[in-house]
């Protein structure tokens, strides 16, 4: 289905963020500051005191086995999941909660929605809106949430589609696109809100092998241009090549946090060694 696209690698133009007017600048140097986060699903303790800082323009790759809490953790960062203990700050704002006398009280929906505008999210299953075309998917939130004039939003949407290599698919509905194409539209959709931070939740796990490359290529380009990113993935090649830091989660905790070199050549934790030996 992607036969009419330029070959992988050439499909992505070299200023993805140019399409949204340059690299969005976070207002703080530490974009994400998660402090001692605990979460339970009923009796199941899924996050056990997770702390993580992500600096401006940093790419952090989170790895770990299924059930280690990595997806749950990044879903907490934009408050798609509630937390029971700890604090998560993005761009200096406490996410999802207000502090009342030292206790966390869930914030009003309006405030949570405003905070999420700064945080782009890309899902494993794309979650494109099936009743809207590729372009309509991208311009929906800028128009409805940011109040961007329609003409302006369309211009930006087209520029984004061009730069993820899908200019010809403007009027296609998601069902008419391949998985890789859908995920590239989903990335463009998230970028259209000019987020200071992008979260990727296993963005290539639902893709056929031949489509993984085209999505990773877009993500690599984003990283090169200076987007701040947290990426949950099993793509070790991506981690090695693009990550500034790799974080290993196991049983709801971060057990290792270091550069890719450290990670792939000299991991300290036995659990990391055995995980890498299985996956590499």
């Amino acid at each position: 289905m992607s036969g009419n696209q330029a070959p992988v690698g050439g499909a992505v133009s070299h200023d993805l963020l140019g399409a949204i007017g340059g690299v969005p600048v976070p207002s703080t140097d530490v974009v994400v500051d998660a402090q001692d986060v605990d979460k339970w699903f009923g009796k199941l303790h899924v996050l056990k005191g997770v702390s993580l800082q992500v600096r401006r323009q940093e790419v952090v790759v989170v790895i770990g086995a299924s059930g280690s809490g990595k997806t749950t953790f990044i879903r907490c960062v934009n408050h798609l999941e509630k937390i029971q203990k700890g604090r998560i700050f993005v761009n200096g704002h406490l996410i999802g909660y207000r502090e009342v006398e030292g206790r966390l009280v869930e914030d009003r929906e309006k405030n949570i929605a405003r905070q999420r505008q700064e945080i782009g999210m890309v899902f494993q299953r794309f979650n494109l809106f099936p009743h809207k075309t590729a372009l309509e998917n991208i311009i929906e939130a800028p128009i409805e949430v940011r109040g961007t004039p329609r003409d302006e939003a369309i211009e930006m949407g087209r520029a984004l589609l061009l730069r993820v290599g899908l200019a010809a698919k403007e009027t296609a509905y998601p069902a008419q696109l391949s998985g890789g194409q859908q995920q590239r539209v989903a990335i463009a959709r998230a970028l259209a809100m000019k987020p200071a931070l992008m979260l990727f939740d296993e963005p290539t796990s639902a893709l056929d092998p031949e489509m993984i490359g085209e999505v990773l290529e877009v993500m690599k380009e984003l990283a090169r241009e200076g987007m701040t990113m947290i990426v949950v993935t099993h793509e070790m090649g991506f981690a090695r090549e693009v990550a500034d830091r790799v974080v290993m989660m196991d049983d709801g905790q971060i057990i290792e946090d270091g550069t890719p070199e450290h990670f792939f050549t000299n991991p300290t934790h036995d659990r990391t060694k055995s995980f890498l030996s299985k996956i590499l």
Binding site: N127, P130, A141, E144, V145, A175
Partner: protein
């Protein structure tokens, strides 16, 4: 047997002004009551999902009461019961709205049918909302949409595909349920037939005559519904074939499935 064609044929095919009027009332009462039902159904369905316990309880109570009691009793309670209870002439003989006069009984009938319908529609809307992948709402929220905007722009439009087929069924029902308004003296189709038979003492012919009209209405509606469903299927992979008018009417399964993703 003495079926009187000389009674049946002119009554049915050379309709009196009373019959034409009855047809008009049947059609517009059904449309307005159904619209009211859809509006109330959406409100009740959203109320049922609300985090506010008071709104939640009111929605649940509404559905429970109006689905649990006969609509004919509700019509009588509203039109004949309530004015006596309150001592207020709630439904005067005529409402004057500019150039249009509404008979009070018609207003009461439409109101009762609509409120009753809302209780059924709320279940249909609820099922429609539940049919939408939760990932859709998550994607909308992650783009900064408020829950209200998420519902209106993303979830409800997708729920529509699931809501419309049973909604069409409800309207088919509504076209016929308007006949209950005859008991409070509304001159809709059935009332015209019974009025006629009380002067000719031949109930069978006019009753059969209005059946022709009801059947025509529901048949035309079936055709329109098929068109609407086809339109809603555009651009979306449902994995389910969209059945045409005759296929649905005759319950024919084609066995050929439209292309769509495997679930």
């Amino acid at each position: 047997m003495n079926f009187n064609f000389d009674d049946f044929l002119p009554f049915t095919f050379q309709p009196s002004t009373a019959l034409i009027g009855g047809l008009a009332i049947t059609i517009y009462a059904a449309i307005i009551a159904q619209l009211l039902g859809v509006a109330l159904g959406i409100l009740a369905a959203l109320g049922g999902r609300s985090r506010n316990p008071i709104i939640n309880t009111i929605s649940g109570f509404y559905v429970w009461i109006f689905r649990g009691t006969p609509v004919l009793v509700q019509i009588l309670l509203l039109y004949t019961g309530l004015p006596v209870l309150l001592g207020i002439d709630l439904f005067p003989r005529l409402y004057e709205l500019g150039p249009i006069d509404f008979r009070g009984a018609v207003v009461a009938g439409i109101l009762a049918l609509g409120v009753n319908e809302g209780a059924y529609m709320s279940e249909i809307v609820r099922a429609g909302i539940l049919s939408v992948d939760p990932g859709q709402a998550e994607a909308a929220k992650s783009l900064g949409m408020t829950p209200r905007k998420t519902m209106r722009r993303i979830v409800l439009p997708q729920a529509l595909r699931v809501i419309v087929p049973p909604l069409g069924n409800e309207f088919n029902n509504m076209l016929k349920t308007t006949s209950l308004m005859s008991v409070i003296g509304v001159g809709e189709l059935l009332r015209v037939a019974t009025d006629r038979s009380s002067s000719t003492f031949r109930p069978f012919e006019p009753l059969l005559g209005v059946c022709v009209y009801y059947l025509a209405l529901t048949t035309i509606w079936g055709f329109i519904q098929g068109r609407i469903e086809k339109r809603l299927g555009v651009g979306q992979a449902t994995g389910e074939p969209v059945l045409g008018f005759w296929a649905r009417m005759l319950s024919i399964r084609t066995g050929r499935h439209a292309e769509g993703p495997m679930r």
